[in-house]
């Protein structure tokens, strides 16, 4: 298990002048795992990625990426990781092919791999198009293609589906799950709770630079499922949310006997409601 840990953070804190941006962050990421780092804008998600990838120095604590202390990272580590930042960072005047091929040259990746990745992300029809003329979804797919071109062991994604239409987001989700299957470890920051619940093996809820919850999404949700509730839709179109108590159980049983229930299901808290409960703040703010 220990040898599968590709990334570990231990008591990381980061201070910018007077502001404490990160507070005592600890976590691990193993091979073939997707870790979601969730929090609203300004909660410290991008700062964490920058510290792990050696672009920023932490104030205290230790970050280890592929066994190397992030404070001592040199350029060679970037041959083993892929980074997709919140800004696309594409060469707009170059074609899709040039954008990928030039990075393939940097990583000594064969042309065949470039062609393979282009078709994987569905940009084969656009290889001669200047990258600046791609739609937002296509641009994001190009950025993702560039990040996985050299088959990195760890992939960092900063809000990869932010502002994308649902179908493109689904396509990217599918691709990420495929990469996970191949054994890639993925560190994903997002403020989209549905995305996190769907993709991540573990999530960390970040609030004002501090992890307020950490673990598998389902476990976190069940932990906060103290007051069990049921959503009941009656044949008469009456829509009810009932707490689990003896009175309501009796009501539900009677409705069932009389075949009056059109639809019934339990209401577990979502990551969004958990976040709201823990921090008192909405994630989308």
């Amino acid at each position: 298990m220990e040898q599968n840990v590709l990334l570990s953070l231990s008591h990381i804190s980061k201070r910018f002048k007077t502001e404490l941006a990160l507070r005592d962050i600890s976590m691990t990421l193993s091979k073939g795992e997707i870790l979601g780092f969730l929090g609203p804008s300004g909660s410290g998600k991008t700062t964490t990625i920058k510290i792990i990838t050696g672009q920023l120095r932490q104030t205290t604590g230790e970050a280890k990426l592929l066994g190397t202390d992030s404070a001592n990272i040199d350029a060679s580590i970037y041959e083993k990781i892929g980074v997709v930042s919140d800004n696309s960072g594409i060469y707009e005047k170059m074609t899709v092919w040039q954008n990928l091929y030039l990075f393939a040259r940097i990583w000594k990746v064969p042309r065949g791999r470039v062609e393979q990745v282009i078709s994987q992300v569905g940009l084969a029809e656009h290889i001669k198009k200047p990258a600046g003329k791609l739609s937002k979804g296509q641009t994001q797919r190009l950025v993702l293609a560039r990040a996985v071109l050299h088959k990195p062991r760890v992939l960092f994604l900063d809000e990869p589906t932010s502002g994308l239409d649902p179908s493109t987001a689904v396509a990217i989700h599918r691709m990420l799950l495929d990469l996970k299957e191949e054994g890639m470890a993925i560190f994903l920051t997002t403020h989209n709770m549905e995305e996190a619940a769907k993709l991540c093996d573990k999530v960390a809820l970040l609030h004002e630079g501090e992890i307020v919850e950490f673990g598998p999404p389902q476990e976190i949700c069940l932990k906060y499922n103290q007051i069990k509730k049921y959503h009941v839709l009656l044949n008469s179109n009456k829509d009810l949310v009932l707490e689990q108590n003896s009175e309501n159980i009796g009501r539900i049983a009677r409705w069932m006997e009389k075949d009056q229930i059109a639809c019934i299901h339990s209401c577990e808290p979502t990551l969004e409601t958990v976040f709201l409960e823990v921090t008192g703040k909405d994630l989308n703010i």
Binding site: S88, I90, L102, F103, W107
Partner: protein, 246 residues
């Protein structure tokens, strides 16, 4: 060099960035067009040939403009553009080292500077046997290199292209205008002697007057001193924040 492929890839990226930026590519074209235009204009007025002082002035103008416009602007603006479009961060997180980026960035602007220096000489019509091959090459290489390093400093300090244009202005005022107008004022002429572009124009004045150029120890000290100083300033700035401040 172990990672030659990375250097080659960065140089190719930079070349594609430069060659597709019309504003930057206008620089060398303008230098050549201006020298050719002035030569035709002044030549027709003086019945064909150019007076030595006009030849000297045109040479000064052409070479100073070339060294300053291309070196400072071409290098500085492309780095600023990479910051603006966030591609610099992508490059630096793709296993390219600071040294590889440095060399990859200046290699094409440097070659273009050198080429345009010789083209300007050809346009002015100085006979090749008159040109002291080694000193001209040495002065041209050192001045072009210094100009590219100063361009790197502009790029490291600039946040975006607009900011780069602003930062480059005082550099242009000092390194281009002082040597060009050195002949008009004794004071400017003296100051010009302590600038690497001034050393270059001093040499071209000798060529225009049909005199033999001999590099003095002051010329050598100015040329190499300013190159070393600019490299040191660049290193200090780079050590502090890298190419991009967080």
């Amino acid at each position: 060099m172990k990672n030659m492929h990375k250097l080659a890839a960065v140089a190719q990226i930079k070349w594609l960035c430069i060659s597709r930026n019309t504003m930057i590519m206008m620089g060398p074209v303008m230098v050549i067009a201006m020298v050719e235009g002035c030569k035709i204009l002044y030549g027709s007025k003086s019945g064909g040939g150019l007076a030595p002082y006009l030849t000297g002035f045109l040479l000064n103008l052409g070479l100073s403009m070339n060294i300053c416009c291309e070196g400072f602007v071409m290098v500085g603006t492309t780095i600023a553009e990479e910051k603006e479009k966030h591609t610099l961060r992508v490059l630096m997180t793709s296993s390219v080292t600071g040294v590889q980026y440095f060399i990859g960035t200046i290699i094409f602007p440097f070659l273009m500077l050198m080429a345009v220096n010789y083209i300007v000489l050809l346009i002015i019509g100085i006979p090749f046997e008159m040109i002291p091959a080694l000193p001209f090459f040495l002065v041209s290489v050192t001045a072009s290199l210094t100009s590219c390093v100063l361009g790197m400093i502009v790029g490291i300090c600039a946040k975006d292209q607009m900011n780069a244009s602003l930062i480059v202005t005082p550099f242009m005022m000092i390194f281009m205008l002082v040597p060009v107008f050195g002949n008009l004022s004794e004071g400017l002429h003296k100051i010009s002697g302590f600038l690497f572009t001034g050393v270059m124009t001093g040499m071209t004045e000798c060529l225009a007057n049909g005199e033999k150029y001999v590099m003095t120890s002051v010329d050598a000290a100015v040329l190499f001193g300013e190159l070393i100083i600019s490299i040191l300033v660049f290193l200090v700035l780079y050590k502090r924040n890298g190419y991009e401040k967080d």
